[in-house]
Amino acid sequence: MALSSPSGGVRRARQLLHVSVLAQSASPCGRFLAAANDFGEIAIFGLSAALSAEAKEENRRAVAVVRAHNGPVYSLASTERLLLSGSDGEIRAWSWAELGRKGCRELWTRRPPCRSSLEVPEINGLEVNQRHELRGHQDLVHVVALREQLPQVLSGGEDGTVRLWDLRTGAQVQLIEVHKYQECSRPQLGKWIRCLATESDWMVCGGGPALTLWHLRSGTPTTVFGLAQPQHHALFHQDLVLSGGVGPALHLLQLSGDVRGKVPVTPAALRSLCLHPRSPEHQVLTVAGNSPKIDVFTNLGYRAFSLSFT
């Protein structure tokens, strides 16, 4: 893994065959995409350039590749000026303004206490003045999501529970044990919760149990989406739920449970979905997973082109 330069060479080519992109994040200005892989590198892509009418082949390659961590980078989050990357037990912050230049150093590094692997949620999870230790999960926490209208955080983990925490007091507000519900549990796959997304009163979560839409106020599962494979990432988008997981397809699901589409993608399994709002009516979706290629969708029905990690 100790490579001197991120470009060129047979070794690099071989390494690229094994790259998995684990997380993506959009820049605050909307022109760049940061993608992190399991070798500890973060690649910056010029998304506006690649989407413009006269994009050429070199626009589809990374503008810069940064050696961020020694271990896999599991998650990325963006604020106005910073890009946070989370890896084994440490979080590093990078300035968006400097990421494109050579020799970029991180702004700071923090080590949250007693964690083995880390997921970085939306940025506010780490505001210094409001840190609480949210104790409760029995096992790994896989995914964290912020609720928009209430100051709450949802977290889902290996122990199969989704917990809601209040951000002001740090107390657990609600506990949903997903695997205890008959409709969605799949004991043959396990009870881990890997993907979580929330919007107003609704939440979609999945992983070992089937992807289900939950109503948070009553804590009841309303629709079970019949996807055979475990899902790794899900998003709410307009009136759809987008989800990707094991299997080379992006699923477009309606809240009523109908599968509106299953779009083939390049990676063999999807790990991360990222939406870039370019205008209120038009959004661009980038999906990435077990492949050095990141697919870009301008229209949700088909793949427009691919960016490649170099």
């Binding site: 309303t222 809240l255 009516e281």
Partner: protein
């Protein structure tokens, strides 16, 4: 004249429109010349003609023709003569190149296939000739011819002006159409963005409907509230009834108990009284016997 007539058009076609003035003159006489490609072998004889200009005047026109052609086309035809030297196929190609330049120059100067310029020059020349001529009838015919040439010039000028006007109006028309199309493009853009907004709204509505449906499905699993309320009411009534009955029964029980109590206490009293009475009577009897015993002593 006939050989010249035959060769000139053919030369015109092979030499391209550069020989247009030549055949134009002929056009007025013989109709449009078919501008098909004729054989270039016709070229050398014609190219050889101009140098002996003015020679062999078979008709009146030919010397004029020849002179005019010499004056106006000498540059071009000398190049043609020079071009006559190379072999025929290359000749056609090279001639076309130089002809193009000449055509361009001609068109720039004349505009109408070089007919008017020639006509005006001819008019001037014939006027000078007429001024210098002596005889009456020749002068008269010349004069008539000049008038006709003049009217032809005027006619062609009028035609050009009309064409110019027409072009201006066509341009305006096209400008108008262009603006209309631009406006409709802008309107279409507007409509597209409106429709996109409507799509967003419709998607939101659909999402709300689906959320509602999802919750409704869950709610349907639970029993109906009215029925439960009714059952609750019925149960409550039953409960009341039963408690009523219980009260009644308890009252009755109390009453009976009290009655029994009264009865029992009366019985006891009676018993007591009877016992008392017995005791009293015993006591009296014992006292009597005692008194008797005492009296006997």
């Amino acid at each position: 004249m006939t050989p010249g007539a035959v060769t000139a058009p053919s030369i015109a076609t092979t030499a391209g429109p550069s020989a247009a003035p030549l055949c134009h003159h002929r056009h007025r006489r013989r109709g449009p010349v078919p501008r098909g490609a004729r054989g270039s072998p016709a070229r050398p004889p014609r190219a050889a003609r101009p140098p002996p200009a003015g020679s062999g005047p078979s008709s009146r026109r030919l010397p004029l023709h020849g002179r005019r052609s010499r004056r106006l086309h000498c540059g071009k035809l000398t190049s043609l003569a020079a071009a006559a030297a190379p072999p025929a196929p290359a000749l056609a190609a090279m001639g076309a190149v130089t002809d193009d330049e000449v055509i361009r120059k001609r068109l720039l100067i004349d505009g109408d296939g070089a007919g008017d310029d020639r006509r005006i020059n001819l008019l001037v020349k014939s006027f000078i000739k007429w001024c210098n001529s002596g005889s009456q009838e020749e002068g008269y015919t010349q004069y008539q011819r000049m008038l006709s040439t003049l009217s032809q010039c005027e006619f062609s000028m009028g035609k050009t002006l009309l064409v110019y006007d027409m072009n201006l109006r066509e341009m305006e028309n096209y400008e108008k159409i262009y603006k209309d199309i631009e406006n409709s493009i802008a309107a279409a853009h507007e409509k597209i963005s409106e429709c996109k907004k409507q799509i967003l709204q419709a998607k939101r509505i659909r999402k709300n409907r689906q959320e509602y449906d999802a919750l409704a499905k869950v709610i349907q699993h639970h029993p109906d509230r009215h029925e439960t309320l009714k059952q609750l009411e019925a149960l409550g009534k039953e409960l009341q009834n039963l408690s009523h009955i219980k009260e009644n029964v308890e009252d009755k029980l109390e009453l009976r108990r009290k009655q029994f109590h009264v009865l029992l206490s009366t019985i006891h009293e009676l018993q007591q009284t009877l016992e008392n009475d017995e005791k009293l009577s015993e006591a009296e009897e014992s006292q009597e016997t005692q008194m008797e015993a005492e009296a006997k002593q």
